[in-house]
Subunit: 229 residues, 2 copies
């Protein structure tokens, strides 16, 4: 699958790039600067070795060229990034947003959140990209460090929300391609109001116990994933 | 330990009563009516059998008579209940609040939340009981049904927040007395703004997958519990 990772030069985006590249997907890293995007794509190819298919370009170009667009940017820059890619994202594209509205965006702490006007960062993104993309919220509970450490088994479930079941299943299939990861459909896009804040809860747990890598597993069922299966 | 369960006639409170009674604690069920409290205490003794120590009385009396006071009431009635027990809760009492600000309080859905003025239900409770109780938030991720089903192994971690480490550890020791349960210190009382909303997230997961009993486990460390240990 062709997957664009907007903000793919950041920790979370680069980690996602490595994991999806290793799974055999063609990843297009988007960056504010085409040179920086291309440089990080070279880094990814160096890490992943021959056969990995990773390119880099501008955010705008990356967003135009993939069936799935992942957006992994800090909340402070999220609205601007979406406005930048809005003219180039084709209608019908599956966009998944991994933004957590951490209070660091306004000088606060990473274990605190602010409340976006639209309810959640994912809903804000959906409001900006008003031309009919298929918006999904996902990947708030896996740190960039964990994603980049390819030998490290991932231990946290990915909570996926959205109003389009098929779009959730497509994003879910990417998650399933990453060893050890599971995805749980937590409902409508508005559930991002809760799932996005879990990043801050994990930061607080990490801080309380002086660990780096706390996560969530959802209990109560053997398998999660696509509810339509 | 003497534990008062305010709202102990409700599903969550009665479940907690059974679990703590079975663990050998003396539980005082509080209710708006002393008769109803006494009746449910009899029910609990009938279920738990000889040796269980469960009494029932009014919320006000229950709150006056225990070292730990658990408050398990719907959000719509939470402020009134705290105002009612305020004159009788001794200063220094450890109070743990299990309220989730579900939107059902205002005619909404159980997978949606409202935002209390103070940030969270636990902080609202703390603001009302302004005379120096030691407030803890806990028990938002275990359903009343699961608690009442004594043969059912509990699979969810209890997220505990508060500004008083010793109070959290005391509540944590009660949690540790319930088979299979673990507690995770998620930080300051204000973290209830996130942890309380997880009830709604679990309701949404239950609804999406048609299950009754989804829960959370925190990953990343073998043992959680008291950070001071």
């Amino acid at each position: 699958m062709d997957v664009a990772v907007i903000g793919g030069t950041g920790e979370e985006g680069f980690g996602l790039t490595l994991r999806l590249g290793r799974a055999g997907h063609h990843v297009i890293i988007g960056s504010r600067s085409a040179e920086k995007g291309a440089g990080r794509a070279q880094d990814a190819r160096d890490i992943l070795g021959d056969g990995a298919s990773v390119d880099g370009t501008t955010n705008e170009e990356a967003a135009a060229s993939a069936g799935v667009v992942a957006v992994t940017v800090p909340f402070a820059g999220q609205a601007d990034i979406y406005r930048a890619i809005k003219p180039t994202v084709p209608a019908g594209t599956i966009v998944f947003d991994a933004t957590s509205p951490l209070a660091t965006a306004v000088g606060g702490r990473a274990w605190q959140v602010v409340r976006p006007w639209h309810g959640s960062a994912a809903e804000q993104a959906d409001a900006i990209l008003s031309q009919g993309v298929r918006m999904v919220g996902a990947f708030h509970t896996i740190s960039g460090d964990s994603l980049q450490d390819l030998e490290h088994p991932l231990e946290s479930d990915v909570l996926v929300c959205g109003d389009d079941g098929e779009a959730k299943a497509v994003v879910g299939s990417l998650i399933d391609d990453i060893p050890n990861l599971r995805w749980v459909d937590v409902g409508a896009l508005s559930m991002a109001r809760i799932s996005e804040t879990l990043t801050a809860l994990l930061v607080s747990i990490n801080r309380t116990y002086k660990v780096k890598d706390s996560g969530f597993r959802i209990t109560g069922r053997e398998a999660w994933g696509d509810t339509r299966a």
